[in-house]
Symmetry: C2
Subunit: 160 residues, 2 copies
DNA sequence: ACTATTTGATTAACATGTTAAATAAAACCA
DNA sequence: TGGTTTTATTTAACATGTTAATCAAATAGT
């Protein structure tokens, strides 16, 4: 009998079976559900960002700096949810595009302090209204209450 | 007056201000909240997967094949939430590791049909109980009801 | 049958993700 | 003070993400 190409399970019930030894079905897997939701949401924003020659990571970095002002690299990486090596590479390209400015921390020579330029503020001013519009469309079709509930649960799962 | 390094906003209220032209504060931004939640959850699984020389994408591909049986590349990429070019590269490495087998679709010469090997089933049998344990710990600390609510909302936002 | 179009998969090029190692400056401490 | 440890950042190496281009096979339309 050939088992090599048979599915592990035959149905799609939402919980693991009694023996507990098979993988959680992907339909109700939290990591996959989070990824799918993220992809679905970002798909609505990406084309708009692309128009402005921005990817999502760059947009996160720029807007975090816009909100917080000057930050050191570690703090920025933390808040923008990018890894330090990624940020190092992004800094080079954003500096070339004159969207950020760098300076050394005089109190702590290890730290690089990063801030955005007026050009980046201009970019934020252009992107923000479009972003907000997309967000509001999403809120309208998803529901404001569900959006709030979802954000609360997402915040809670981070703390769990 | 220096404005180049001043924050765009001084507070962290959860909604955009009346003029509506500034970026949604990252705290209550759905894309960022989804990313943060995903990072937080995956951080619990990654070390376990690393023990088995698996990254999350490979684990998604293997378990999808384990559940569904043989799939063509497009269907697999779709279900495992990886892009086609990524899957192409992953296939090479997974084939080298003898975790998957490939064959041409005889009805449609364009399609590559992919299935997992017994070795991959063995791997799934090793990883699944550990994965389930981590998942149950998360459920315990997050709450089963909230988990269900969150999964429902994530499913809903994909459809929105 | 023949061409044009569509589709499945791969390749290319560049960006970020991920882990480990290297580097330099700061903090610690005997 | 001098040596060790910690911390901030960068580099390296390899994997995946992303978009566009390419290629081959199937389909559609004439």
């Amino acid at each position: 009998m050939v088992i090599g190409s048979d599915p592990l399970v035959g149905d799609n019930s939402s919980s693991a079976s009694a023996d507990g030894a098979q993988p959680r079905l992907t339909r109700r897997s939290l990591p996959i559900a989070l990824l799918r939701a993220r992809e679905s949401v970002m798909a609505k924003f990406r084309p708009m960002l692309a128009k402005h020659d921005m990817n999502e990571q760059q947009w996160r970095v720029i807007r975090i700096l816009g909100e917080a002002g000057e930050l050191d690299a570690t703090e920025l990486a933390d808040r923008a949810l990018v890894l330090a090596p990624s940020l190092t590479r992004m800094i080079k390209s954003l500096k070339t595009r004159k969207l950020i400015a760098l300076r050394k921390d005089k109190q702590d020579g290890r730290r690089t302090l990063i801030s955005i330029t007026p050009a980046a503020r201009q970019l934020i001013a252009e992107i923000s209204p479009e972003s907000l519009q997309i967000y509001r469309d999403l809120e309208r079709s998803f529901g404001v209450e569900d959006m709030e509930r979802l954000l609360d649960l997402l915040e809670a799962v981070v703390k769990a």
